[in-house]
């Protein structure tokens, strides 16, 4: 019996384990299916226009304005012509490099200004700091439509109007409030012992700042950079009024102004131009989404 039981037990166990695994598998499959089903409408909503944009960017013009055929498929051969047009007959390459450059410098300025400010708001405990923090934040509330006229004069004083540097100067006005607030949240999550230990070690205040900032710098920098990129892509009015020179424009403005010629819309190139920058940023988001989320969480909860 014992021997038999000794044999039977592992067998039975194995069977049970297997059944359990199967149950778990089927449970996981059911869960997967449910989640996928739930996500499906969202994906359709999000992607429907994007797919349409993608198809448009490969369609010939004649195919595009044919009202009698299914708009979501090709009725003439797909074409690269809109992409070649974009790269050979417009300043698209410049627009991309401008956008990257603007975003990079905007991130840099935002960090240079936002890190100390965020630290001061979070850790120094200054009297009146709170009101200053609010003051900085209020800057975000002023709508560009109100600001762009008087701001023109300020921008003109710097003699960089009509260059991409004008946008490098102006865009931090909406990234600084956001990122200062985010970063101050980050800094509050760092245990004060680190900072105090640094001061005891004779690092001085600046050293303490660096010691506090370093542990969170990666998430903070990523968050700021991602925001700078996103917001650089969302602006239209500032770039429109401050940059009229074609090779100085960022992508959204260049695409929307140089690819609409009167009543001729270069639809294919427009869509291609938008997707070529929008999709990489979306991928960037996914890579850093977890950092991003922890950044928001820290900032809001702390």
């Amino acid at each position: 019996m014992t021997a038999v039981r000794g044999h039977a037990l592992p067998l039975e166990q194995a069977r049970m384990v297997e059944a359990g695994a199967r149950r778990a598998r089927s449970r996981s499959m059911r869960r997967h299916l449910l989640v996928y089903l739930g996500l499906l409408p969202f994906i359709v909503i999000a992607v429907f226009p994007v797919v349409w944009m993608g198809i448009t960017s490969f369609k010939t013009d004649a195919d595009l304005v044919n009202p009698t055929v299914f708009p979501f498929w090709f009725h003439q051969h797909p074409t690269w012509e809109h992409f070649t047009y974009l790269f050979q007959h417009t300043y698209y390459k410049d627009w991309i490099s401008n956008t990257m450059l603007i975003a990079a410098f905007v991130s840099l300025i935002t960090l240079l200004v936002g890190v100390p400010a965020g630290y001061a708001l979070a850790r120094v405990g200054l009297p009146g700091a709170e009101n200053m923090g609010i003051g900085i934040f209020l800057g975000y509330l002023v709508p560009p439509i109100l600001l762009f006229i008087p701001l023109s004069r300020v921008v003109a004083l710097t003699h960089i109007i009509d260059t991409k540097w004008a946008l490098v100067l102006v865009y931090p006005t909406f990234t600084i409030p956001y990122c200062t607030w985010l970063l101050s949240g980050f800094f509050k999550t760092v245990p004060p012992e680190i900072e105090e230990a640094a001061q005891v070690d004779g690092c001085g205040r600046l050293g303490a700042l660096i010691k506090t900032v370093l542990p969170v710098s990666l998430a903070g920098i990523l968050t700021a950079v991602i925001f700078a990129f996103t917001l650089t892509m969302q602006d239209f009015l500032y770039s429109l009024v401050y940059v009229s020179v074609s090779d100085q424009k960022p992508v959204p403005l260049g695409v929307a102004t140089d690819l609409i010629r009167g009543d001729v819309y270069y639809w294919g190139s427009l869509m291609a131009g938008a997707l070529l920058v929008g999709v990489p940023v979306a991928i960037l988001y996914v890579f850093f989404l977890d950092q991003f989320i922890s950044g928001i969480t820290a900032a809001a909860v702390k």
Binding site: D61, R153, T257, V264
Partner: protein
């Protein structure tokens, strides 16, 4: 120089070619006088080494942008001036202008478009009367409308460049097929639209009743044809509220009910072009760029389209054609540091009507009277658009018969007329719609008293 050679040189834009084209373009004595101020008067010695920045729209005939850039650069090379031309879409010019004025920096020459606020901007614009006088003297003066566009109290602040005709574009094949009369009157146009709408497949028509520029001036063209006056000739006393307005609106509603697709309620400036281009519309009332783009895409359709007729513009009850056009003029900002170069360029370019008309394929209509001698460039040889040659003396602008004041501009930019029409076609309440519209217009004018 043979005609062909002139054409070719204008296209390749060699330095000598440009001058030759400008010179050879005008018939008779006008020719030598046209070049005279340039070669004799404004000798641009002092502008050498300066720079010039020009802001213009993205032309509705895209090839013109390329030609204009080449033209400006060639001029720059010739005069040792660094020239840079920027193009932005027409709708975005006002925001850019406002920003440049607030900044006190930007371009030297800016193109003013359609809603030309010369009454407001003139304090910031350089007096260009000398240029306009010379241009006018050389070419028989400016057409009447140009004075309203570019002058304040007799002083020229802008140099009139060209205007955009907004004529009838109609399908000769369908008109013949249905046995219709030419749309020489709005009644004939209405009958044509009604007939087309009743056929299978449908060939109806449309005029925008929506927030867009075309809607503003198309309805004005109809209103003026029925005798509506916006103000007295001084532009101060309102004359909108009239029995003519009621008649015009009743007609407009009938036009909408009988002839139009309800899509017009969401059309933008381009939608009617597409409606014609897709082969549906029996006629549309819009700029000729609509059919220039058809020329490239659908040549079969293109050859069945006629632009206007000897009658120029459909008539209503008033005994003259009342075409409403979009004027374009160029000005020099007072803050410009390169005014000498800017003046020299403007004088050269705005005299060069031949270049303007040829490269825009007849889209740019001359502001100078002398250029209406037949045959005009392009229009004289292209039978489809040939009737536009008589447009000059009839052309009107928004605000008629007054000048285009700031108040008239606000009536335009807040889309009061399209909204009044929308109200009427949706509610069928004529007096209510007019009461609303007149309320809007009155309160706008009150703000500028």
């Amino acid at each position: 120089m043979s005609k062909r050679a002139v054409k070719r040189s204008a296209r390749t834009l060699t330095r000598r070619g440009l001058l030759a084209a400008a010179g050879a373009g005008v018939a008779g004595a006008a020719a030598s006088r046209l070049v005279a101020p340039w070669t004799a008067g404004a000798a641009p010695a002092q502008i050498r080494g300066s720079s010039l920045r020009i802001l213009v729209w993205s032309h509705f005939v895209p090839a013109y942008d390329t030609a204009f850039d080449k033209y400006a650069n060639a001029w720059g090379v010739e005069n040792a001036v660094t020239v840079r031309v920027d193009h932005i879409p027409i709708d975005q010019l006002p925001a850019r202008i406002a920003s440049e004025l607030a900044a006190g920096a930007g371009h030297d020459i800016v193109q003013h478009h359609t809603q030309i606020l010369v009454y407001q901007y003139h304090q910031q614009l350089v007096d260009v009367s000398d240029i306009c006088d010379r241009l006018g003297k050389a070419a028989g003066g400016f057409i009447p409308m140009a004075h309203q566009v570019a002058q304040v109290n007799g002083t020229w602040y802008l140099v009139p460049e060209f205007y955009i005709a907004q004529p009838m574009l109609w399908r000769t094949d369908l008109f013949t097929q249905y046995g219709l009369k030419e749309p020489s009157t709005w009644d004939a146009a209405r009958i044509a639209g009604r007939t087309g709408k009743g056929k299978t497949p449908k060939h109806d028509t449309g005029i925008q009743i929506s927030h867009c520029n075309d809607s503003n001036h198309d309805w004005r063209a109809i209103f003026y044809a029925f005798g509506v006056k916006e103000t007295d000739p001084s532009g101060k006393e309102l004359q909108w509220d009239s029995k003519e307005l009621r008649e015009a609106m009743r007609f407009g509603k009938a036009l909408y009910d009988e002839c139009m697709t309800p899509q017009v309620l969401s059309w933008d400036n381009v939608s009617d072009n597409r409606y014609l281009g897709s082969g549906v519309a029996i006629w549309i009332h819009d700029a000729i760029s609509a059919f220039r783009s058809i020329q490239n895409v659908n040549p079969d359709l293109y050859k069945n389209i006629q632009v206007a007729g000897p009658w120029i513009e459909p008539k209503g009850t008033v005994d003259r054609p009342t075409p409403v056009v979009d004027p374009i003029a160029m000005g020099i900002w007072k803050f410009s540091k390169n005014q000498a170069a800017a003046r020299a360029f403007l004088e050269k370019y705005c005299a060069d009507v031949k270049f303007s008309m040829t490269e825009s394929k007849g889209y740019n209509m001359p502001m100078l009277q002398g250029w209406y001698k037949k045959p005009m460039p392009v229009l004289g040889t292209d039978m489809t658009v040939t009737h536009l040659q008589d447009l000059g003396k009839y052309a009107l602008i928004n605000g008629y018969p007054g000048p285009f004041t700031a108040a008239a501009a606000e009536v335009l930019s807040t889309f009061v007329v399209p909204d009044m029409m929308t109200r009427y076609v949706q509610s069928n309440d004529l007096e209510g719609s007019i009461k609303w519209g007149m309320g809007q217009i009155k309160s706008i004018y009150a703000k500028y008293k």
